[in-house]
């Protein structure tokens, strides 16, 4: 019996093996995202600024659903509500939905290359922004301008960058 010669078969690229995420690392990235969200921006920069917390939460909910889920997202949302001085529970509700949607779609999202993942991330971030809009509109706030739709799109464009950076940090010897 002739065994197939496996020497010429492609081997897994070393980048694809990541160290398992440690809880402190997830907390650290979320803290960085929170700091990025709290940057004192104004004008155009503020209009373009994506929700970094939503992006990082989405990454962890998709990659490490054992550690990051609806509960964590809800807690982070409450912190964001305080940081932004918005209604208590507004971000919490939106992030909880985001985490649930990520959990629901994660196998599907992971099937695609990064730039196609970005399109699906745009839909998820749009859902998150839409929920905030709904909550505030019911609460009596005026409808925002069309620029309200820009941050989710910018966030989706940043998705490949966030993914690559976080994976690079998780790579063996990457720290």
């Amino acid at each position: 019996m002739v065994l197939p010669n496996i020497a010429h078969l492609p081997t897994a690229a070393p980048e694809e093996i990541l160290r398992p995420a440690r809880p402190w690392f997830i907390v650290a990235t979320l803290a960085c995202a929170l700091a990025a969200n709290l940057l004192p921006l104004s004008g155009v920069a503020l209009a373009l600024r994506p929700d970094f917390i939503a992006l990082v939460l989405l990454y962890w909910c998709i990659q490490e659903p054992r550690y990051a889920g609806v509960g964590i997202a809800w807690g982070v949302g409450l912190v964001m509500d305080v940081g932004d001085a918005t209604l208590f529970g507004q971000h919490a509700l939106a992030y909880a939905f985001l985490a649930y949607a990520a959990e629901y779609f994660r196998r599907r999202v992971l099937r695609f290359p990064l730039w196609q993942q970005a399109a699906q991330v745009a839909a998820l971030l749009g859902l998150c922004a839409g929920l905030v809009l709904l909550v505030r509109y019911v609460g009596g706030a005026p409808l925002p301008r069309w620029t309200y739709a820009v941050p989710p799109l910018v966030g989706a464009l940043l998705w490949p960058v966030v993914t690559l950076v976080l994976q690079w940090l998780q790579r063996p010897g990457g720290h």
């Binding site: 690229a13 980048e15 694809e16 990541l18 803290a31 929170l34 700091a35 990025a36 969200n37 709290l38 940057l39 004192p40 921006l41 104004s42 503020l46 600024r49 990659q63 490490e64 659903p65 054992r66 889920g69 609806v70 509960g71 809800w74 949302g77 409450l78 912190v79 305080v82 940081g83 932004d84 001085a85 918005t86 209604l87 208590f88 529970g89 507004q90 919490a92 509700l93 909880a96 939905f97 985490a99 649930y100 959990e103 629901y104 992971l110 290359p113 990064l114 909550v135 505030r136 609460g139 009596g140 706030a141 005026p142 925002p144 301008r145 620029t147 309200y148 690559l164 994976q167």
Partner: protein, 309 residues
């Protein structure tokens, strides 16, 4: 580069399902939203959380401050000299007015004493710097770098060099939240400087001009009129410039004129602001609303976080 995550097979139950958690946390969120909108029980929790968050917030401001510091360092000597000359000239120009002001103030005090009128506002003012504008696209707010530590209280008026910017609505230990006059839930009792007609200026939200509502089409008001605070609410000292009438539509078929105004102060630009102290002696509330202005007060009471005495 695709990364396939590895996870153990779900042999063991790992707590409640995501849907159950979503329903649980979603209901808590909705309850929180309801309580925060209707009542104000959660302010204590908010203060504690804001205090914990403060170091992170300051850390987020460091890069911007460092950049500004570097920019200042490299500001050319020439522009500083020019500024200096201009400021000295301005100071001389203002000197006459300042001296006249002192005399006027003394005269005013004597007249007030003669007429037995109480002094209606404290002159205590604290200079503050804007930390950042609110990231909430639904509200017009900004945060300043002093709070309870500088004895700033909710309801105090905030002005810049040109006019009213807004009022303090929330005070944290080291910072304070200012609701701008352009916020949808904000109203300022004003008076037309030229004719003395009183009204209330309502904010309309981001990108929309504040307006005077419920003004009869026949009211004595013109485009370009300056609106100053009337001081009737006890929050804003009287006589501060607020806005200028920008457009005016008097349609015969309408009950009210449509009056859009433009804020005079650099509401979205000013970096250095002044927080004015509250009225030292609040006027007693009248028993029954008698004239037009007191009848308008209940409308102001709808403000979510307003500082009504």
């Amino acid at each position: 580069m695709r990364h396939i995550p590895v996870e153990p097979p779900p042999f063991f139950r790992r707590g409640p399902s995501p849907l159950a958690r979503l329903v649980f946390f979603g209901l808590i969120s909705i309850a929180l939203l309801f309580v925060d909108t209707r009542y104000h029980y959660l302010e204590g929790i908010r203060h504690v959380a804001a205090t914990i968050l403060y170091p992170l917030q300051r850390a987020a401001q460091l890069p911007g401050e460092a950049l500004a510091g570097a920019g200042n360092y490299f500001a050319s000597l020439r522009s500083l000299t020019e500024d200096n000359v201009a400021l000295k000239r301005q100071s001389v120009e203002h000197a006459a007015a300042a001296q006249a002001f002192a005399a006027t103030q003394q005269e005013n005090a004597r007249l007030r004493a003669l007429l037995d009128v109480r002094t209606n506002y404290a002159t205590a003012a604290r200079a503050v710097d804007v930390l950042y504008t609110s990231r909430d696209p639904f509200a017009q707010k900004l945060f300043v770098d002093k709070g309870a530590d500088a004895d700033i209280r909710p309801g105090e008026a905030v002005i810049d060099a040109d006019g009213v910017v807004g009022q303090v609505t929330r005070v944290y230990p080291n910072m304070a939240e200012v609701t701008l006059v352009t916020d949808k839930d904000h109203a300022v009792p004003v008076q037309v400087q030229r004719s003395g007609v009183r009204s209330v200026l309502y904010g309309a939200g981001a990108g929309r001009a504040p307006e005077l509502r419920f003004m009869a089409p026949s009211a004595d008001i013109q485009v370009g009129d300056v609106l100053v605070t009337s001081g009737l609410d006890g929050t804003y000292p009287p006589g501060l410039a607020v806005a200028r009438v920008a457009t005016l539509e008097r349609e015969t078929g309408q009950i009210f004129a449509r009056i859009a105004c433009a804020p005079i102060a650099g509401v979205d630009r000013s970096e250095h602001l002044l927080v004015l102290g509250r009225a030292t002696a609040a006027f007693p509330r009248p028993e029954e609303p008698t004239d037009l202005d007191t009848a308008k007060k209940p409308g102001k009471g709808k403000r979510r976080s307003g500082g009504i005495p």
